[in-house]
């Protein structure tokens, strides 16, 4: 029985190492940020999952296995959140993914130009000219995007969250 578990643990650790290195190689070989994200997600799900499975098989049913599972669950959760935020931020910043157009050619273009229905679902700054002026998402005021912030340097710690001054906001 111990031999079987040792063999399974070996296999999981070797498989996890393989996928971890494959993800890191993809991080260096892929052509743009979106495909690199795809490569890294291999190492952060399959690689980490198999490595932790291998360690858990070695530890048996103990508190150590519980800690390993905690690490894996939190890592899976934050990995998805971070990847989503990163892809969204890159799109807002004007990064253009490689896409296949109607004629089947690879083009590096804004996804909204190929799939207009995306423009409805994504936030407004991506498909408007605001993106040319601000590198990040622009907060939206009552009458359009806020490009000028209220210019007071009082000791207000909560300046970010204050609604725009209609007189000074653009």
């Amino acid at each position: 029985m111990a031999t079987v578990i040792d063999t399974l643990s070996w296999a999981a650790l070797l498989g996890g190492s393989f996928f971890y290195v494959v993800g890191a190689i993809g991080l260096n070989r892929m052509p743009d940020i979106f495909t690199r994200m795809h490569a890294v997600s291999v190492s952060e799900t399959l690689g980490v999952g198999l490595l932790i499975l291998g360690m858990a098989l070695q530890a048996g049913v103990t508190l150590i296995t519980v800690k390993l599972i905690i690490i894996m669950v939190v890592m899976m959760w934050t990995g998805a959140v971070a990847t989503h935020a990163l892809a969204r931020a890159a799109l807002h910043d004007g990064e253009k993914p490689l896409l296949v157009d109607e004629t089947g050619n690879l083009v590096r273009t804004d996804p909204v130009s190929l799939f207009p229905e995306l423009g409805v679902r994504l936030a407004a700054p991506l498909s408007s000219e605001v993106v040319d002026e601000a590198p990040y998402a622009v907060p939206m005021g009552a009458d359009g995007p806020i490009t000028e912030l209220p210019d007071d340097s009082g000791g207000d710690a909560n300046r970010d969250a204050r609604p725009p001054d209609p007189g000074k906001a653009d």
Partner: protein, 97 residues
């Protein structure tokens, strides 16, 4: 022995991620590589603890995972609002004129 093999693999991956973090043309590439470096550090901690028969290292690993989560949320906020604290820094930095 088997943990040593896994540690070597994670170290190779860590080196490749450092290469991308140094070379990455955009800030997003560097951020992706930094995230991967953090994950590699956690896996190194766990594997090293197992290799030396001291699984208490996992507690440090849990701490690192939680710190990674905080860092992720901070980065998310930064890209959503353009700043972590002072809105006027955002105004100055992102002003193209």
């Amino acid at each position: 022995m088997m943990f040593a093999v896994a540690i070597i693999a994670v170290l190779i991956a860590l080196t490749l991620a450092v290469v991308r973090a140094l070379a990455g043309p955009t800030a997003f590439d560097r951020l992706l590589a930094a995230n991967n470096i953090g994950t590699s550090a956690i896996m190194l901690l766990a594997l090293f603890g197992f290799m030396t028969d001291r699984p208490e290292f996992l507690d440090i690993g849990i701490t690192y995972v939680l710190l990674n989560m905080i860092g992720t949320l901070a980065v998310l906020k930064f890209f959503r609002y353009g700043a972590l604290g002072h809105a006027q820094d955002l105004n100055r930095d992102s002003d193209p004129r």
